[in-house]
Symmetry: C2
């Protein structure tokens, strides 16, 4: 997503050329054909860390909620075809339900698709989003809430995904990272620059903001996480100017700051 202006082919070939061995895939990049995307990624010798995204469970009618469940089943299947160990779950906004009903709908949806994930060998990675996205993207807004959900689901196929941009502000974050021990399915990095360039496209390159990246990374390490770390920067300026320098800069900043 850091190079959203590139096609999947370009991402794969540029990453392979830059010695980046693992990528996170977004569903809009695979045009519904996970097998083809998987073959292309594998032939370049790359691994897939996760597929983004499932979730988005809440809707004003039961029929629409049913469609969301079906879409999550498709996403689980796509993750399995891609060899992605994790399907990132962004819960979605309330979307016509009350906030508490929407949160119950998210729980119901996860319980319903969890057996599919277990059968497919795919982990549902519940990612809390920053509270500024509560109205538009995610009724799950704290790591505590994601940990609570995962505790209720009681399955090795249900874990949390921790993105520094979404959780850095939380007075409870260190405790919740420790609480997530053994249940962390992903760790995403970017930065929060001041002033923030925007709400949806406001993320910055590591080192350009105020997030205590190393501290959070050490906490995730200390909680036993040894999986890939994804760089996920939604930023239109970075997208517009994405050339080969982007991956070198990303690697350099990652080493310096994460």
């Amino acid at each position: 997503m850091t190079a959203d202006s590139w096609s999947l082919e370009e991402v794969v070939s540029n990453c392979a050329n830059s010695g980046i061995s693992t990528i996170a895939v977004w569903r809009h990049k695979i045009n519904g054909d996970a097998s083809k995307a998987s073959a292309m990624i594998q032939s370049a010798g790359l691994n897939v860390s996760s597929l983004c995204r499932g979730g988005w469970f809440s809707a004003p009618t039961a029929e629409e909620r049913r469609k969301r469940i079906e879409d999550n089943r498709v996403a689980i299947e796509q993750a399995a075809l891609l060899g992605a160990p994790v399907l990132v779950i962004v819960s979605g906004p309330a979307n016509g339900q009350s906030l508490s009903d929407a949160r119950a709908t998210v729980m119901d949806g996860l319980m319903e698709v969890l057996p599919d994930a277990e059968r497919a060998g795919v982990i549902l990675g519940v990612e809390p989003l920053h509270p500024m996205y509560a109205a538009e993207r995610s009724v799950v807004v704290t790591l505590k809430q994601a940990n609570d959900i995962v505790d209720q689901l009681q399955s090795p196929s249900a874990r949390v995904v921790i993105d520094v941009f979404h959780v850095w502000w939380d007075p409870d974050v260190m405790q919740q990272i420790e609480r997530a021990r053994g249940k962390i399915a992903g760790f995403h990095v970017s930065d929060w620059s001041v002033p923030l360039p925007g709400i949806l496209m406001g993320r910055s390159m590591m080192g350009d903001g105020v997030i205590e990246l190393r501290k959070l990374r050490l906490a995730v390490d200390a909680a036993g996480y040894t999986g890939p770390i994804e760089v996920e920067i939604f930023n239109e300026d970075i997208w517009k100017n994405a050339d080969n320098g982007l991956l070198e800069l990303t690697k350099q900043r990652f080493i310096e700051h994460v």
Copy 2:
């Protein structure tokens, strides 16, 4: 603040003409002369609900932190002169300290000025701000955190201020409102429209957004709060177009939605 484009004189006379009996005062409106402002407000027959703001404790050097303490003492004195029962405390950003050091600085600062507030008969109203302001305005970002601070201060002169815009997203908000029983010093309303018009100026008129205003108001009522409810809308379009219709609209929307 809903009519920031008006002078204090205009706010006072327009409110008096519209049957609004109580106003919240911001310090930039009184030009350092609280006695003069107080006389003007009183002569129009209005009450002051609160003075905004104290706080902003964190700074990179001890000398600067000392100046912040002194400024809070001035603010307490101004609140007393204005007859404002509450000085709203916006904690301030980390401002060169680490997040955890800044949070400790806020606690230290509050402990230091609390005896002044007690002597002056002014309540320090600790207001958590939305986490999207963590980098620029407030390291206190949840009502739980504000409740924890107030519990530690153990004084009737230390309470919390609850603003719906800052807390509506929080899965824990209902419990924390109940926990604040007897310690709520203010309740602020506005709305969160989708998409949000901006980060600092993004608030909307009640009814134009997704905040469950009535639900939150009933929770605050149920927790025993009987004080004034402040309408606090930072929105440049509202400021630009502020005429007498603004107060009528505000009253109507308040009655309909709060």
